[in-house]
Symmetry: C2
Subunit: 765 residues, 2 copies
């Protein structure tokens, strides 16, 4: 890793002078995790816990005519069997549940229809896992099979079978008159696209497709649920947001929020797949535990995880882009269709990330979401941005070719800057897009010799806007001057450490004196999920706010001890000082620890709770440079060299940022070359294991070099910017361009498997 | 139960109008506990946990010449053996540890001497309990036996063997020149005692003795300790104060406080015996876990609990009391000696509770603490107050007899009132002493016929000052208007409920919408232990403070929604209202729940952390009336009828207060009649089981009637006063006086066993 600021004066780096920020101590959770001691979702074992299993649909589309659970219930050892009825009967009017909530619930426990292969229908809790599995087979379901809808274009036809008879298109804010498989149509419009195209010297129009793809987190979903005799529900789960989970459970189970406590475990990978509406096991475990009167643990196998959690949406994107001969973009017209799976909902960022790295004067983006008989889609690291970037950067490259301008030069001529308004209407504040492009341009990799035949180099830039959202912390100053801190943020990526580092910096104390833990939903204020690249930023802000309040109160205590006005007390480098008071002239000093030691006699404990609701953790850009070699006989792509360059704001802990960048690029390579859902004509997922749905391992990748460009985020006192998601977005685009340089062919569909490459280069398979 | 306020206009009862305070919902923890689902200290089971056992001294006083642990360490399955060296070697200068800390540590792991039978010397952690027990037998200790000191008077002689060669008497604030077994001498002086005695018409001088007595909590001490690879220590334990425990561990193990997290379990009875310095298993479990690199669970048997935890001090009290013929006390001169066991320290309240229910113009109390070769004493429900009351009330009764004034009439003539200064210098604020005595006087029991021979009725009043101390809470308003609350107070007596009730009252919302949990040391601000009758009072204050702050912020949100000045917004009965704004004239209303639903769009979460440091939870008095029948042949005392009358301030939940009163009276009966440590001449405890150290059961007691006198505490907005400890203090005195009325003899030593009664009434045993 190099920090661009060191070698390129054009790259902005924040003022020096930090003591903790920018250092690279080890993660608080590192040793626990690598030694196998950390408690993940599957590791929770309460006494008397029952084990559970779900019954899943073999059909992708069918009406449930009847469910007979009597034989399963009669099996010795079975303690509870539940179906959707057990949930909706908790509602005052089971037949009139809010449509959104009903769709949400039906996804993990089907009511009247099954809508994808693997759709859960019932669940069993038994004294052991084997009995539960046996009992599931005894549940008798009578189905009426229905025609399967697997293709978005087919689904959009009026003649298509409908998945839901109560789903209406929300089209530009208005509901459609008739039910439809199109759940959403939104449009972004800027300037005059027709005029823009008319002004263009070159127009490129292309179509792109990306397959549904799974996040591939190593740990499946697990939940253990326990009801107290008083009706309080406790859930342990490996979710990315325990408050989100709690509030969803309250709605589903019709409980006051205060009656639910969610205790987050460690999370063995999430990448968005355990975020937001990713409740697959938790409500079912709770229903089973309620019925059985004992704790219930429910998990998923790998096959179940692939079949019935939330992969990233499949996509179709058609781009029509105009540019002038001198290399200025004039217009972008886009139509994007997202394959959202069996139920509507989720991120619409695909629509807002098309050409968002660029200043485009005119544009129109029409974005459609379409339901099909596949698993309901979920979030995945900068959701929508990777397909949008794949399409955008491929077209940009073709324009460069047409107008004969060097690709980075073209990008720099069109780069979005402070004040740029994106096609989706976002006005950029201080961003580092230009700095990232310049760092890429300056990088030795960009012009190094390729060193062999069948090789090519690709460069692409990817955008992500990052999220904000509510975060809360509690901070206590201990009597020995150490600080105990908890936050409401699940720690996916070392944020216990990076939040503690911000507190140590804000308080001017040693990091070794700050502990940061993740608190359950009862102990700390509401905190949005760990996702959207928000945690180090937003929870950091909450922690800094708490630290500043604690420091203010410490100053009051010092003033009390000295019997001077608080205004006269200064604090720097861990020392309070004043020159006021009886013996004025001489400066009195007390260290942070010395004031802490006197808390008990100067008014009692200092404990602070803070909450923040910031509006975004800083728009950012990544540039990936990748070299590949394509075997012309097999179509196999070997990744030879990889450099990831990214505006990371101020890196709290550069080593953790580097890890994010390397991890994101790895996911991007997998998505580019191998990963993607494959269904048969009946809607059965064909690749339900890591053997069939190949993800990159260390053997498949070179060392990924990183360049951290530090352009501080003005929305954070230390300039922290979200860094997690943009790490992946340019990767498939960069690989497509590298393959183009190596082979001369342009691939416009993900994954770019050997078969597709061979087909393109004319080898008949 | 009756509430005195209902029938006696003289008894102050707070203004009506509470919605939640004063109601009697069931405890939040009740069903969990009675169904066996609650997690107590022994119930914590982490994966790979080792089981541990301590080696204990067979001698009451001996020098440790050597400890050889090699054979134990060699036993297969043994993972760690520790001695005191393992602890002190963590200190920078093991030989120069602060004396107080050294005494503290030596109590649970002897360094160079053993000072009581059962004194721990080493501990073993092994893969199972049986191996640990086997290994303990393999540890070889070479002792040099020393003369045993068991009697305080002997111990106070210059010629007595010394327990500690570095213990100096702290006499009236100054250290003695020579080491001594007398660790402390304090004196309270008021007015002119000689003059007071000279003014007396009657002077009574008597001596009283009480034996060391165990609290008899059902659950022994347990701790499970776990170190993370990063060196963070987590401890689960059934301690009465997890912050106290954490801070003690930090000092003993030389860790920053922030590196220790203590997670409190439920506590199966404490009564002070699991408070303050009651660390017997936690540091040892931590040392073993540190050495073994695995979690370690260490518990105690009943025998170990009796032998080596902290019983209440034994006491000797000599009182010389003067009064006039017309029934006014003129002077009290007291000498009290507390038998503190092997190490100095603990509560000195015995000194401050002598005659503290009365207005005494002149007095002197000299209080000594003396170490002897018995277990180090601990706290026990109003520590010192029960022996002090036993002495006080016996003498008061003799004075009544001498001056011929009806006992309650005499007490009312001398009762302490607002502005009274106690012998210990405490100035009383609003107290309900007179009201309690009047309620006793008015009670039907006080004059009911006894109904048989060998029967007698005793009445005594007992005082307790109750404690304050730091408490902290975190409170979050959830999106559905329910409230999640945690406090740092271990719940011994239903305080999760009584704190939640105060929050519901303060917020004007339904109790069903408030959850209160106990948070671990990381998640909430410093909170002093649950003891000193402080929790419902002090933690209630912290919770009310948090609720008021939350309500204030909710009001700001309502104002923001309406776009009006916050000053115009009122709140009552769960509804915010304003008449200001554009359409002024019409009143706008939003319920608490409606404003809560808009938190996310009006600035984000509301979460509040509060800490308080109140200075006392209200001085209080209890009067017990008890009827007994004494079998003249066996000396057996049967308790026929019992009425407990108490100033409870405002009872948050009268049913829980009644439970406290009944429980305290029961403990008092046991202490009065049966319980007390018996040692042989070598200092070996003879009664180490519940068979030999009899405690009352439901079979031994009549139903205990209660009268709640509600004199609000001015230091709390709802008038809450500590109620837990004073429940026991008058009980032995009342029984002694009842026995006197039944038999004609006065007993001045606890316990008043059948043998002692028979001896007094002249039956030769």
């Amino acid at each position: 890793m190099t920090t661009a600021g060191e070698k390129d004066a054009a790259v902005v780096s924040p003022a020096a002078g930090y003591k903790v920020i920018g250092t690279q101590p080890a993660r608080f959770d590192g040793a626990e995790k690598v030694t196998g001691r950390a408690t993940f979702g599957a590791d929770v074992r309460l006494p008397s816990t029952l084990q559970a299993k779900m019954l899943r649909s073999p059909h992708a589309h069918a009406r449930i005519k009847s469910i007979d659970t009597s034989r399963a219930e009669a099996l010795p050892g079975v303690m509870a069997v539940v179906t959707a009825k057990d949930m909706w009967s908790l509602h005052e009017a089971p037949g009139a549940v809010d449509a959104e909530l009903k769709f949400f619930g039906d996804n993990f426990l089907a009511s009247d229809k099954v809508l994808f292969c693997g759709h859960p229908i019932a669940a069993v809790a038994a004294t052991d896992q084997f009995i539960a599995e046996e009992a599931v087979k005894l549940i008798e379901v009578e189905y009426e099979e229905l025609p399967t809808v697997l293709d978005v274009f087919e689904a959009m036809q009026d003649s298509s079978p409908l998945l839901h008879d109560n789903l209406y298109t929300s089209s530009l804010g208005k509901p459609s008159e008739k039910p439809s498989n199109i759940s959403l149509h939104i449009q972004h419009l800027k300037g005059d696209p027709d005029k823009g195209l008319a002004e263009a010297d070159v127009i490129i129009e292309r179509e792109f497709r990306t397959a549904m793809v799974h996040q591939g987190y190593v740990e499946a979903h697990f939940a253990t649920a326990h009801w107290s005799p008083e009706g309080n529900l406790t859930i342990w789960s490996n979710h990315q947001g325990h408050f989100i989970l709690r509030d969803a459970m309250a709605k589903l189970l019709q409980l006051p929020v205060s009656k639910i406590q969610v205790i987050p475990t460690e999370v063995g990978g999430g990448f968005g797949g355990k975020a937001a509406q990713s409740q697959y096991v938790q409500p079912v475990a709770a229903l089973l535990a309620r019925k059985a009167g004992r704790p219930v643990r429910l998990g998923m196998s790998r096959k179940e995880t692939f079949e019935a959690t939330g992969p990233d949406k499949g996509s179709y994107i058609r781009l029509k882009v105009g540019a002038t001969r001198d290399g200025k973009l004039t217009a972008v017209v886009a139509k994007a269709i997202a394959e959202v799976g069996a139920f509507p909902g989720g991120s619409v960022s695909l629509a807002s990330t098309i050409f968002s790295a660029y200043e485009v004067p005119n544009g129109q983006v029409d974005y459609y979401e379409v339901v099909v008989n596949k698993p309901k889609s979920g979030g995945y690291r900068g959701p929508g941005s990777t397909p949008a970037t794949f399409a955008t950067e491929n077209v940009v490259d073709e324009i460069c070719e047409q107008v004969g301008i060097e690709p980075l030069e073209f990008r720099l001529r069109n780069v979005a800057q402070v004040g740029t308004v994106s096609l989706a209407g976002r006005v950029y504040q201080r961003i580092g897009f230009k700095e990232v492009m310049e760092a890429a341009h300056a990088h030795e990799h960009y012009r190094a010799p390729l060193g062999g035949p069948n090789r090519g180099r690709g460069l692409a830039v990817g955008y992500w806007h990052n999220h904000g959202g509510a975060s809360s912390c509690n901070l206590s100053v201990n009597g020995d001057g150490s600080v105990s801190l908890v936050s409401g943020s699940v720690d996916l990526s070392g944020t216990r450490l990076t939040v503690a580092m911000q507190v140590a910096e804000a308080l001017g104390i040693d990091l070794n004196d700050v502990r940061c833990d993740v608190a359950d939903t009862s102990a700390v204020g509401y905190t949005y999920l760990s996702g959207g690249s928000r945690t180090a930023f937003a929870t950091g802000l909450a922690a800094i706010k708490a630290a500043e309040e604690a420091l203010h109160r410490m100053k009051l205590r010092a003033a009390l001890i000295w019997q001077v006005s608080p205004d006269t007390v200064t604090y720097a480098n861990g020392v309070f000082a004043t020159s006021a008071g009886p013996s004025s002239g001489s400066t009195k000093r007390l260290t942070f620890k010395e004031v802490a030691a006197q808390l008990a006699t100067t008014g009692g404990p200092i404990s602070v709770s803070s909450s923040v609701l910031p509006q975004g953790s800083g728009v950012t850009l990544a540039a990936h440079i990748v070299d590949v070699e394509v075997d012309p006989e097999t179509g196999k792509v070997r990744v030879l060299r990889y450099t990831a360059i990214q505006d990371v704001g101020k890196a709290v802990n550069p080593s953790l940022v580097e890890g994010q960048m390397q991890g994101g690029a790895s996911l991007g390579v997998g998505r580019a070359l191998w990963e993607g859902y494959q269904f048969d004509e009946k809607g059965r997922l064909l690749n339900t294991s890591f053997l069939d749905n190949k993800m990159p391992t260390a053997y498949d990748l070179p060392k990924i070099d990183t360049v951290l460009v530090e352009v501080p985020n003005p929305g954070h006192p230390y300039g922290v910017r979200g860094v997690g998601e943009v790490t992946m977005t340019p990767s498939p685009a960069a690989l497509a361009l590298a393959i183009h340089r190596a082979t001369g062919v342009r691939l416009r569909e993900l994954p770019m498997t050997p078969a597709r490459i061979l087909q393109k280069i004319g080898v008949i398979l």
